[in-house]
Structures are given as C-alpha cells and as structure tokens.
C-alpha cells in the first residue's frame, strides 16, 4: 500500500492565520460572556437548595456513623460557603484537566523515545506543542489555591487540627504530615517546574535537531525522556492525590493515581489525534497516512477501554466491600446534593467508554476523519465530565451545577490551550525533518 504512494514533501510550515486567531478570540469571548452570565446567575442565587438539603439528610442516614461523624461537620460548613466556591471549583477542574492534557504531550514523546518508536516521528510536533500550556494552568492553580483553597480543600482549615477543639478531625490530623499547606504548595511548584523544564529541554533538543541533524540529540532525548518517565511515574500519582483526591480528604482509593493518569492520558491522546486530523483537513501533515491515523485511533480506542477498566476496578471493589468510609464517595455522587451529579456520572461512562468503543471498533473508522473527530470530542468532553464528577461534589457541593459558568470556563480554557498549541506549532517545521526515525515513519504501513 505504502509502496504505491509517493511521499509528500516534508517541508511544511504551519501558519497561525489571522482568521484562526480571530475565531479563537471570538470563541474565548463567547466563553467569557458565558462565564459572566454564569457568575451573575450564581451570585443572585440559583434555586435547588431546598431539595439538596433533603437529599443530604438521606445520605447521612444511609451511610450511618461514618457520614454522621465527620461528613456532617464538613457539610455544615459547606452550607455557608459562598457562591464563589463554584467559581474556584470550576477553575480548578479546568486547570487540573488541561494540566493533564498538556503534560501528556510530554509523556507521549517520552515513551515514544524510550521505546525508540519510529512511526510517531512524523506528527511528533503535535504532542511536543502541548506542554507549553503548563505555566498557564500552573499559575491559575496556585492563584486559586491561595485565594480559594479554604473553599475547595477542607484540610486547609487549621481548626480541624486543634486537639480537643470542636472541629477536631482525627482522620485529617493523621494525614497532616502529607496534607499541609507548605508541603502541598511545594509539591505543586515542583510538579510544574519539573514537567515544564524537562519539556523545554526536550523541545530544545528537537528544534536543534532540525538544524544540525545527527543522532546525538536523539540519544540525549531518549535519556531525558526516560528520566521524565521516572519523574512522571511518581508525580502523576502524587499530583492526582493532591489535585483531585484531596478534595475529599477523608476518602482514599489506592487506584486513584492510575485512574487519573488513565483519564489524562486518553484525553491527551484524543487531543493529539484531533489535532492531527484537523491539521490534515487544513492541508498540513500530508505525510501522515492512513496507517498513522489508524494507530492513533487504536490508541484512543485502547486507552478508553483502559480508563474504563481502572474506573470499574475502583468502583467494583468499593461497591462490593461496601465500607461506609469508602462507599460515601459513590453515594454522594448518586444521591447526594439533590442527585445533581448522577447525570454527569453516567454521561461520563457513556462518552468515555460506550461511544468511543463502539464507534472506533471497526478498522475503517480509525482513519475516517469524521468518525475520529466524533470519538475524540466525545473523549475530550467525557473526561472533562470525569474530573467534574470527581472534584465538584467535594468542593462546590450543593452550589454546583452545570450551566453557563461550566461551559464558559471550559470554552475559555479550550481556546487558550489551542492558542498556545498553535503558537508552538508555528515555531518550527511541522515535520521534524532530521529525526532519525523519520524515514521509518514516512513509510509506516500496517496494511
């Protein structure tokens, strides 16, 4: 098949056209307008609180003493949190999600280097462009933590550590060695600095390689990529505990690191695939053939299943064992807060598993642009919902909802992310022309 094709030119410059910039600005403005509307609605007080209170009582009754003990204290506090919490929580959800997508770009390059993979060389610039967004999300997360940390994270309240005090919380006191503000902020800064600067270095190697060629920079990239995988192997888990699991500080799951990584990873792969497809539709990346697209489609297909596998493994153990301190997590999402999280909970499963699984199953669908786009958008929105259902109940709780505020923030983040990616793609030849594996990649053929 490949032998019959002629290989298109590898000299390609991506142009971030003024039209594209205008569209992104319009998109961002629409998002911002939705945010303003959402903030106004939230500030003037949306209804639904009465029902939520009733449901709360039910949850506490069902889960018995574990809920009645510390959860009641937590909920009592949530009731007088301001509508601002919903805004902080939204910023946090999006920032965590896009941090993950960005860092998965680096993750993808790294494991491709470690495996000395050849096929991916031709579109390597796409994942390479993703981590440039890390400083943005990093700064947003730090600011949100300092301004809204008390609203989002129950463990940041000092009174829960006062022995004998009315708010004293034995469980949180036991976790204080790990969950305390200085260590938390230190870890957060470390994650972003390590991820970002390792990416900067590998990006620099890649751009230099475009000028001088040779295999020396390739070998260096393998070493750096391997080092990143070691760093990310630890930090992906710890950041998942910090960013997502610590929103519900009493609850824990030993699968959570994997679960979050699976979520980030498949979302990142969907972004890579979607970007490749969209670049091809705009006349770029002609050297990407149907075999590359099929392999990318398989990646999205396979890791959708992987995410579901981890999600289900976590769910089944908790469901089966039915321990109050564990099952509260799912009870809260099913029946808590007026059942507002029940729909996102099931929509997540549909968008992240059933739809990509059925749509990407056949061979031809994996290189059909329209089907790939549907599957990728499904995964991208689905995993946003995944982080939403993980973070919102423990932070915004009753004040949460799904309206203009949520859509607005999500759209603003998408536009910002695309802008950052396009800026990076413009900086270099779209195909790494001196990558040692490029020849293999151009002839990639899985028949």
């Amino acid at each position: 098949m490949a032998s019959a094709h002629s290989i298109p030119s590898i000299e390609e410059r991506f142009e971030f056209t003024s039209g594209a910039k205008r569209n992104l600005i319009i998109g961002g403005a629409i998002g911002a307008a939705l945010v303003v509307v959402g903030v106004y609605l939230a500030a003037t007080g949306g209804g639904g609180h009465q029902e939520a209170e009733a449901a709360h009582g039910a949850v506490n009754a069902i889960t018995g003493h574990a809920a009645a003990g510390h959860e009641a204290a937590g909920h009592a506090e949530e009731h007088h949190v301001s509508w601002l919490t919903r805004i902080w929580a939204n910023l946090w959800v999006n920032a965590v999600y896009f941090t993950g997508i960005s860092v998965v770009g680096m993750f993808f390059i790294s494991y491709n280097y470690l495996a000395q993979a050849g096929w991916s060389a031709v579109f390597k610039r796409v994942p390479e462009a993703m981590p440039a967004f890390l400083p943005v999300t990093g700064i947003i997360m730090l600011v949100v933590f300092f301004l809204g940390g008390h609203d989002l994270f129950h463990w940041t309240h000092s009174e829960v550590y006062e022995v004998g005090g009315p708010e004293y919380d034995e469980v949180l006191a036991g976790k204080q060695g790990y969950l305390n503000t200085p260590f938390f902020v230190g870890r957060m800064i470390f994650y972003f600095v390590a991820w970002y600067f390792m990416w900067r270095k590998i990006r620099q190697f890649s751009l230099e390689e475009d000028q001088i060629g040779g295999t020396e920079l390739y070998d260096k990239s393998i070493r750096l990529g391997t080092a990143f995988l070691v760093v990310f192997g630890v930090t992906s888990s710890t950041s998942a505990w910090d960013f997502v699991m610590s929103v519900d500080p009493h609850w824990f799951s030993t699968m959570f690191g994997w679960y979050t990584l699976a979520s980030w990873h498949v979302a990142g792969l969907a972004v890579i695939t979607l970007t490749v497809v969209m670049l091809r539709e705009r006349g770029y990346l002609k050297a990407v053939n149907s075999s590359h697209l099929r392999d990318l489609g398989k990646f999205v297909f396979a890791f959708s299943i992987f995410w579901t596998y981890v999600w289900f493994a976590q769910f089944l153990l908790i469901y089966y064992a039915n321990q109050p301190e564990e099952i509260i997590y799912f009870i809260e999402r099913f029946r808590g807060h007026g059942s507002i999280f029940k729909a996102p909970f099931f929509i997540t499963l549909f968008l992240n598993f059933f739809l990509p699984f059925l749509v990407l199953m056949t061979r031809d669908s994996k290189f059909t642009h329209s089907i790939l786009k549907v599957a990728c958008w499904s995964v991208i929105i689905g995993h946003y919902m995944d982080f939403y259902t993980n973070i919102m109940p423990g932070s915004a709780g009753d004040t949460a909802g799904f309206g203009p505020l949520e859509w607005g923030f999500f759209i603003v983040f998408i536009c910002g992310f695309v802008w950052s990616m396009a800026t990076q793609l413009e900086k270099a030849n779209l195909i790494p022309k001196h990558h040692p594996m490029l020849e293999e990649s151009l002839h990639h053929d899985i028949a």
Partner: protein
C-alpha cells in the same frame, strides 16, 4: 480458500521484495494470480494481490456478543432466577458483580471462535489434507506464486515468460 483443481503454473521466488514487486507487474500484464505463499507475512501483499478484506473481524464481533449473552444468561438464570442468591448484601441480579465474568466469557468466546474460524476457513486443521502444497519450500525459504491456468485467458508460454521476467527463478507446473 478456493477449490484447488486444474492446472497451475507455480512461480518460485527467492526474495520477498521481488515477489511483492512482481505481483502488481504481473497483474498489470493481465495475469490473474490465485495466491502467493510465503514463510512470513509480507506487508502490502494483500493490497497488491487485490484480495478482498478478511471478514474475521465481523466473526469476532459475533462471537463476542455470543459470549456476552451466554455469560449474562448463565449468571442471571443461576444466581437470580433458578436459585436466587444474595452475595455481599447485594440484589440477586446486580450487574456490577456480573461484569468481570461477562468480560472474561466475551474474550474467551472471541478468542476461541476466531482461532477456530481462522483454522477452518484456511484448511489448516492437522486432519485436513484439502490441498497439496504448491511447493513445500514456501514454508522455509521460498516465495511461491500460484496461477490457475484455467482462469487465465493468456497462454501457458506467455505467463511462464512473464513470471521469469518478473524475477521468478523457477516456473513449475502442478496438476491437481
């Protein structure tokens, strides 16, 4: 696998690349090739030969659906209807509990079904001697092209010459 009967011209090649390039050349010249036998899969050969795509994927899906249904029926019947059982305080019929076994039986049915289908449709069972091999060296170090003369309008000489021109080192005649 098409029935093997009639007179065949068998081209023997020494190199996978030669045979891969010979196929489109011969087809362009008007030769109808029945099959190419090779000790290992040659990338791009299916497309070069113009074979219709395998339908084993459809078979796999059917086997998978069968396995899924068998598993669910088995568990719902035995655990929920025939002798209702409560395990871990859950309902007798509780879907989350059934998912691991459903998954396993789906995979099992798919795998066994696909392998069986593949062996049967290719006549690969140890008991099946449906056809003689065109050239036993195709399982070792040679690449063998089979051309059914009955299905070709070109003469034997013409095809034989075309085979040699395309790089065949031997051209043999086989009669079944």
């Amino acid at each position: 696998m098409a029935e093997l009967s009639g007179k065949y011209l068998v081209g023997v090649y020494d190199d996978d690349d030669t045979v891969l390039h010979a196929v489109p050349r011969l087809r362009k010249a008007g030769v109808k090739i029945q099959e190419v036998y090779s000790p290992f899969p040659i990338h791009g050969m299916d497309d070069a030969l113009g074979h219709p795509r395998t339908r084993i994927g459809i078979a796999a899906f059917m086997f998978g659906v069968t396995g899924c249904c068998v598993a669910l029926t088995l568990m719902i019947w035995t655990m929920g209807i025939d002798w209702p059982m409560i395990v871990g305080g859950k309902d007798s019929i509780s879907l989350p509990n059934y998912i691991p076994i459903t998954f396993e039986l789906t995979v099992l049915f798919t795998a066994f079904g696909m392998v069986t289908t593949f062996f049967i449709s290719n006549g690969l069972s140890p008991a099946a001697h449906k056809h003689e091999r065109f050239d036993v060296r195709a399982t070792d170090n040679k690449f063998v092209m089979a051309i059914n003369l009955g299905r070709n309008s070109m003469s034997e000489d013409e095809i034989s010459r075309a085979l040699r021109d395309s790089g065949a080192e031997e051209v043999n005649i086989k009669q079944f």
